[in-house]
């Protein structure tokens, strides 16, 4: 088993996502032709079949659609930090775009208190540098404290 956290491999059609997260900016892919947003990123617009895309900046605010708390057995890197919470986050500007990310509670010492996490909790994006190229979005709970 791998010792480290698995890293997203960068493809042509999603490199813009990762170049923005490296600058602490959350973006969603949108079509150059019809402007429709889509997630996860992919080469073709499912609405108009255009192969060109752009990156739309979003506020990084959202709410918890659901979440889980994984317990061992896990990959070693996750076993070390378990239990932890992973959420599915619905974006404020585009509620039907949902992203998976770690959920953390604002005050670090409370990170084990999963009772504070509720479906519907408001969250804000933050970024964790995994490698030179990859900053992974995670989500911080701002309320219920």
């Amino acid at each position: 088993m791998i010792e480290n956290i698995p890293i997203p491999g960068i493809e042509d059609y999603d490199k813009g996502f990762w170049s923005h997260t490296s600058k602490s900016q959350l973006v969603v892919q949108s079509c150059s032709h019809c402007n429709k947003v889509r997630f996860p990123p992919r080469p073709m617009c499912p609405s108009c079949h255009c192969l060109e895309h752009k990156w739309e900046k979003v506020s990084g605010k959202g709410e918890v659609w659901s979440f889980v708390v994984p317990r061992p057995p896990l990959l070693p890197a996750f076993e070390e930090i378990s239990p932890y919470a992973v959420g599915l986050i619905s974006l404020e500007e585009h509620p039907f775009i949902r992203m998976v990310g770690r959920l953390k509670i604002e005050e670090a010492q409370k990170n084990d208190d999963f009772e504070l996490i509720k479906i519907g909790s408001k969250v804000e994006v933050a970024f964790e540098k995994l490698t030179k190229e990859i900053c992974l979005p995670y989500w911080v709970i701002k309320e219920n404290l």
């Binding site: 088993m1 997203p8 491999g9 317990r71 990959l75 930090i81 479906i119």
Partner: protein, 382 residues
């Protein structure tokens, strides 16, 4: 047309255990041999094969070990737990259309060893769609399934106590099945509530077993089936289904993530059938994780949206319930073989020789994985 044109006439399985000595090839060949014996058909008559893309045994290896003759059709169905009914349906189509005459579909798998867990082979860099979830610690299928269950519980006001009824009901069936892993091993609600969590809200008993074994079935035309000894399970209707914006296992990006691909399969399956959900006597529902049973009960029309966990709690899937489900114990308590055990149990119910036989069962549904592209078959007796 496929309706009632083909039938499963032979079923075969190996022993199920945490660790078997035989190779996957030996297990596959043993199960197929038993299924052919059960059907009363010679190996050299087989001319069509169906298997899983996850299957390690090649068609030609299986064919030359069993002494098959000349083959005319083979296909593989993708997506693991979504594949069993699809592989069978495709072979049925080949027989109904006249390409082939005798088909075999099998699955052999050694998954008892924890080292064989697929998620544990996650690579340093993830290039497929799992790049959007695994780096955040949502790594295992149990985690992916738990995400939808928590939402469902929140939306409809359920707790772990409600969910416990899935595992305890299936265990009661397994307790009567001498071939099941959990034969005679009871599971109480208290055991469930005290079990260790795997991915909150799912605990140990919400997860399928890890097992070694193989299962095979034999298909022929209904015309041929009538000349054989065993009562045939006719393939009445079959469909595959993949929802719009589907994503394998982390199926979170459709308009409503609680509306899985099962809704697509279900709609087409009923369109093609002479029966409605109320006509079904017994169902085998894919259950790698317990949430898939309530989700599928709703998708296939056995209860209303958000009602499945109360339905199960009130005994709806028990032996004397409205629709008995996973009557051999299912993947949670009989064996985990990507759902092929559910297919053979669906056939046994039609034959009348299940360890939890539903009296006079004439219409029997088998489904595949709710979280993947999937398929389902509706069997009927003669």
């Amino acid at each position: 047309m496929l309706k009632d044109k083909t039938a499963i006439v032979g079923i075969g399985q190996t022993e199920f255990a945490k660790r078997l000595e035989e190779s996957e090839l030996e297990l596959a060949c043993t199960a197929i041999n038993k299924a052919l014996e059960d059907a009363g058909i010679e190996a050299n008559e087989v001319d069509a094969l169906g298997s899983f893309t996850f299957e390690e045994n090649d068609e030609f290896e299986v064919a030359r070990n069993l002494g098959f003759g000349e083959l005319h059709f083979w296909s593989q169905a993708p997506y693991g737990g979504g594949a069993s009914c699809c592989a069978i349906g495709q072979v049925a189509l080949s027989i109904a259309s006249g390409i082939s005459k005798v088909g075999v579909v099998w699955r052999a798998r050694k998954r008892g060893d924890p080292k064989s867990r697929i998620w544990s082979h996650t690579e340093d860099k993830v290039f497929d769609h799992w790049k959007w979830s695994r780096p955040s610690g949502l790594v295992r299928p149990a985690d992916e399934s738990a995400m939808l269950m928590r939402r469902y519980m929140h939306q409809y006001g359920y707790t772990r106590e409600h969910l416990s009824c899935v595992a305890t009901t299936l265990r009661k069936y397994a307790n009567k099945n001498s071939l099941a892993f959990m034969y005679k091993k009871e599971l109480t609600k208290e055991d469930y509530m005290n079990a260790r969590m795997i991915s909150d809200p799912l605990c140990l008993y919400d997860n399928c077993l890890e097992s070694d074994g193989a299962i095979a079935v034999v298909l022929v035309s209904t015309e041929r089936a009538e000349k054989l000894d065993k009562k045939p399970a006719l393939i009445h209707s079959f469909s595959q289904g993949m929802s719009s914006e589907h994503q394998l296992m982390t199926d979170y990006h459709g308009r409503d993530p609680l509306k899985s691909s099962s809704y697509v399969t279900s709609e087409n399956l009923w369109r093609l059938a002479d029966f409605k959900p109320k006509d079904v006597d017994v169902a085998q529902i894919y259950d790698a994780f317990s949430p898939m049973i309530p989700f599928s009960l709703e998708a296939y029309g056995f209860c209303g949206e958000g009602k499945a966990l109360s339905f199960i709690g009130e005994g709806g899937i028990a032996k004397d319930g409205q629709i008995p489900v996973n009557t051999s114990g299912g993947s949670l308590s009989e064996v985990y073989l990507h759902g092929m055990n559910l297919v053979v149990e669906g056939v046994r119910q039609i034959r009348g020789d299940s360890s939890s036989q539903i009296q006079n069962a004439k219409v029997s549904l088998v489904t595949t994985c709710d979280a993947t592209p999937n398929g389902a078959i509706l069997f009927r007796g003669e």
